[in-house]
Subunit: 200 residues, 2 copies
């Protein structure tokens, strides 16, 4: 056996434990307790296997799972960026790229390259797999907010247009899930969780 | 779109959030904070994609991931069973079977059947995929205990023979990982984290 390969992999497995300490803004379903990135990544992965049939295009679900399981690891170094934050840049920042190099760089070189490529494909977001993975990443906090009387929408007073702008990307992965999401958003407007401009 | 299908899937996605409240006995790496089942399931899934090359037999890694992502969901109803508990039965209990029927039963019938079959294959444990998945499930707490000065071994005074009995199943999934694990256990005996009978 190549012990060196295994030791590098174990160092990676040890390091990524830190994802369990990265707190998100969103809260668990019907709860006051915030979700961490490891729980979030697990939930998205189960959502993907559950909802795969609703993808607009045929997808390699194994690749989608790999993306969702590792997509937030860079936040170990760069921290969680709140979806509705209007100041911090959400694009593939220099800090995130450095984090990817450091964290995936713990793995054996060939594997590190594979993991970085999967992370980059998710970040770039233009393959069928990346688009479906992004749908999951946007859909989960909507379900959470709906279960928490508006959750982060209410807490941070996020305007309707911003909600639509950030969540409508769901349709690129799944028109079915987006149609359903629109009914949830409409209902959240009716309940006062999201304010339209003319309501302010 | 078949809204009824999607609504059933969303009910399942909502329900499984409860996995984030199921506390395990083991603690995070170098930490006093206990791990929950959702974090655990995420970690095992990433371990599986990282360590797949060490499987004794060729495996369908997508099936392994599905197993690991859903294997603990029954604990939402039946609770976590401590690996080294000598009183509570670890086998596929009646309570776990009922839990599987209730929780997977939230899904559309055809999908519920698929998920139950994956869970049963993991529980039965005799396919190459189930054996590799079990290796991951046994290997993670060993790494955690080693990082926590013996962790649950020390805390619950688990004897050497019990540790060997419970962990040696790793070899059915991966001889490579088991060889490495044996060096970790030997080292843990030297450090006094695990007591051999003649040392008591
Ligand atoms: Ca994120």
């Amino acid at each position: 056996m190549n012990l060196d390969i295994l030791l590098q992999q174990v160092a990676f497995i040890h390091e990524i434990d830190k994802l369990k300490y990265i707190q998100r803004k969103t809260r668990l379903f019907n709860s006051d307790r915030r979700e961490n990135d490891a729980e979030h990544s697990w939930h998205l992965a189960v959502m993907a296997i559950t909802l795969a049939e609703h993808s607009n295009e045929p997808i390699d679900i194994l690749k989608v799972l790999k993306m969702l399981l590792i997509h937030d690891l860079v936040e170990i170094d760069s921290g969680d960026v709140f979806l509705y934050d209007t100041i911090v840049n959400h694009d593939n920042t220099e800090a995130e790229r450095k984090a990817a190099e450091r964290i995936f760089g713990l793995l054996p070189a060939k594997q590190a390259k594979e993991f970085v490529a999967i992370w980059e494909e998710f970040e770039t977001g233009d393959t069928a797999e990346a688009m479906f993975a992004h749908s999951m990443d946007r859909f989960e906090p909507i379900l959470q907010n709906v279960s928490n009387q508006g959750g982060t929408w209410t807490e941070h007073n996020v305007p309707y247009d911003t909600v639509m702008d950030k969540t409508s990307k769901i349709q690129h992965g799944s028109k079915t899930i987006w149609d359903f999401t629109e009914t949830l958003i409409d209902d959240s407007v009716l309940k006062g969780y999201i304010k339209k401009p003319d309501q302010e």
